[in-house]
Amino acid sequence: MSLVNYLVLAGILFAIGSAAVLVRRNSIVAFMGVELMLNAANLTLVTFARMHGDLSGQVIAFFVMVVAAAEVVIGLAIIVSIFRTRGSASLDDASLLKS
């Protein structure tokens, strides 16, 4: 068992999260993919903190968490307001930004 395992797991989770963002049409699900990616990053930070014996990694992961919380609030508010005006939470329906 090596700490690298954590890093590989973080990579896999990150990839899954990114794939979810790309594949899922439901904005809430895609948003959860984003959260998963953030958490994967956090896992690497924590792992590296342990590897280097330096708590800075943990502090940064903590900040990421705070920012993620703020981001979730705003993101979900946007989803809700779009749902209210357009009656849909699908990412593909909000495709007005095209040539």
Binding site: S18, L22, V23, R25, L91, D92, S95, L97, K98, S99
Partner: protein, 636 residues
């Protein structure tokens, strides 16, 4: 009146009149033709005043420069618009304005039934103004302005009846062939500027001794090309016959008396250049000799009275060119023949117009015959012109043409024999075809339906033209008859021109002068006799016989159009097609391809901008992966 003012007004009046007539349009229909006549007449009066003023001053002062304004002040090239009033230009002034005024008067009656008579006079005045600029200019640049001006007027007047396609084509042909010559003149001017740094006559001539002969020959040949284009000389002669599409007064004024002689004027004016370039001078003489024979041969076969006269004009200008190519001994003769030719040829053209006027615009001489009974005045005036061009003493042509033949026989080696022989033979052929023309038209049996004979075709009632037409003809006929002799009294004309042409010692021709005169007269008599036997004494077939190979060739202008077509037009067309193709395929292809490529790629890339945030995300993610691969690849 000062020379400055007179020289300015002599140009300004017809120019102003042309502008007024063109700008007022139909409102000036009622008086337009008389305004045109008045403008031309005023110029004529002013020209006479100028002549008198020059005659009144001593010979060495007979060259007055008139500065008009600074025209092209462009760095090293500074051209002033200015006039040069000297014996040569005043001679032309008299010829242009006097003959021009007579033709204006004639045209009042001739064009009476044309709705566009006012426009016709506007163009005529424009022509007179441009021609006067041409001969008065004191620099090649201003000469070129007049040169192009007469080209424009010629184009407008040849195509005056442009509702007929072939007339419009004839106008275009004349215009395009003149452009070829103009290119030569432009190149000559460019070469002058490159070598001398100026295009003004006196500066150029002053600089001639310092120039290499190669440059001078090149400049001379370029100027000759310009002269060939304007004067319908070989090889740019093809347009003159078609130019007869214009109304007859136009043919008389522009394509017989004045404009077509501008080339001779250019050569004579540029005399100092040609004297320093013997090769170019010889080419001028050869071109003249070739053209005089060419025109004479073509003239023998033409049945169209105007085209026969046009061929004759070409031939006579060939004589002038030949004389101009002989150097200072020939200049005065060239101008002298030009002057007398202007009178008798204009008179004959007006006579041809009068015949056409009485014959319902018929031009085919095979449909004439015996017209002397119906139009006495025309017959007599035309006859005087005929005698003049034949060179029968004491009529004008004898004095001028004989001098040229004499001068052509002056020299050493093969030149006098070839050039003089050509001139001599040309005189004989001239006698033949002019007599043919005269006899076919005025003598023999009538070959038109006069109501009494059994000729086919519509009934014709030939009649004499009104006084407005006959009076100019009479005046010109008097000139044809007497002018040469009068001007030869004490060789006054040559002394008058001496300040320009220079005094030349008399040279003896290789054959004694009396022998030459006798030979010329014998040949002329032979030509007249042959013409009499064939076209007066014998019956002239109404439809042209097939004729010999030479006749058929001459009818087709010795295949000049065919040659031009094959040598220039068709390769040119192919060249242009190739260039067009290259332009569209290569140049435009590259540019359009670039544009189309950008558009195409834009269209394709536009599809990427589909508005779906997931697509953008996917591309971004792939981009991130690619960047990572690239970064890692460089690390390995």
């Amino acid at each position: 009146m000062s020379v400055d003012l007179a020289a300015t007004l002599v140009v300004a009046i017809p120019l102003l009149s042309a502008g007024v007539l063109l700008l007022l349009g139909r409102r000036s229909d009622g008086f337009g033709h008389w305004l045109g006549v008045a403008a031309s007449a005023a110029s004529c009066v002013l020209s006479v005043l100028l002549l008198l003023s020059l005659l009144g001053s001593p010979a060495e002062d007979r060259s007055v420069g008139v500065h008009l304004f600074s025209w092209i002040p462009a760095g090293e090239l500074s051209v002033d618009a200015g006039f040069l009033v000297d014996p040569l230009s005043v001679t032309f002034l008299i010829l242009i304005t006097f003959v021009g005024t007579l033709i204006h008067v004639y045209a009042v009656a001739y064009m009476e039934h044309d709705d566009d008579r006012r426009r016709f006079f506007a163009y005529l005045n424009l022509f007179v103004a441009a021609m006067l600029i041409l001969v008065l200019a004191d620099s090649y640049a201003l000469l070129f302005v007049g040169w192009e001006g007469v080209g424009l007027a010629s184009y407008l007047l040849i195509g005056f009846w442009n509702q007929r396609t072939d007339y419009a084509v004839a106008a275009k042909k004349a215009f395009v062939m003149n452009r070829v010559g103009d290119m030569g003149l432009l190149i000559g001017m460019g070469a002058l500027f490159a070598t001398v740094g100026s295009v003004e006559f006196d500066e150029v001539f002053a600089a001639v001794p310092g120039l290499s002969e190669g440059w001078l020959t090149a400049i001379g040949l370029a100027l000759l090309l310009g002269a060939c284009g304007k004067s319908a000389q070989f090889p740019l002669q093809a347009w003159l016959g078609d130019a007869m599409a214009g109304p007859t007064p136009v043919s008389a004024l522009i394509h017989a008396a004045t404009m077509v002689t501008a080339g001779v004027y250019l050569i004579v004016r540029s005399g100092p250049i040609f004297e320093a370039a013997p090769t170019a001078q010889l080419v001028v003489a050869v071109v003249g000799a070739v053209t005089l024979l060419f025109g004479a041969i073509v003239g023998c076969a033409k049945d169209d009275i105007k085209k026969a006269l046009a061929a004759s004009t070409m031939s006579q200008i060939g004589y002038m060119m030949l004389a101009a190519g002989l150097g200072p001994i020939g200049y005065a003769f060239a101008i002298f023949h030009l002057f007398t030719h202007g009178f008798f040829k204009a008179g004959m053209f007006l006579g041809a117009g009068s015949v056409m006027h009485g014959m319902n615009d018929e031009v085919n001489m095979r449909g004439f015959g015996g017209l002397s009974r119906y139009m006495r005045v025309t017959w007599i005036t035309f006859g005087l012109g005929w005698l003049a061009i034949l060179g029968i003493p004491p009529f004008s042509g004898f004095w001028s043409k004989d001098k040229i033949i004499e001068a052509a026989f002056v020299g050493e080696g093969w030149q006098p024999w070839v050039l003089g022989g050509a001139a001599l033979i040309g005189a004989g052929i001239t006698a033949f075809y002019m007599s043919r023309l005269f006899f076919m038209t005025f003598h023999g049996e009538p070959r038109f339906n006069d109501g009494k004979n059994d000729q086919p075709g519509p009934e014709q009632h030939p009649h004499e033209s009104p006084a407005l037409m006959t009076v100019p003809m009479i005046v010109l006929a008097l000139g044809s008859a007497a002018l040469g002799g009068v001007l030869m009294v004490g060789e006054s004309f040559f002394h008058w021109l001496e300040p320009v042409t220079g005094h030349v010692e008399h040279h003896e021709p290789v054959v004694p002068v009396p022998v030459l005169i006798a030979a010329t007269l014998v040949l002329v008599a032979l030509g007249v006799f042959l013409a009499w036997r064939q076209y007066w004494a014998a019956r002239v077939p109404v439809t042209a016989p097939a004729g010999s190979v030479l006749t058929r060739a001459a009818r087709r202008d010795l295949y000049q159009d065919v040659v031009n077509e094959a040598v220039f037009a068709r390769p040119g067309t192919h060249l242009v097609r190739t260039m067009t193709y290259a332009d569209t395929a290569v140049v435009d292809g590259a540019v359009n391809g670039l544009g189309a490529g950008a558009v195409g790629w834009g269209e394709r890339l536009r599809k990427v901008q589909n508005g779906f945030v997931r697509s953008y995300g996917a591309l971004m993610a792939v981009g991130v992966v690619l960047v990572l691969v690239a970064v890692l690849a460089t690390r390995i």
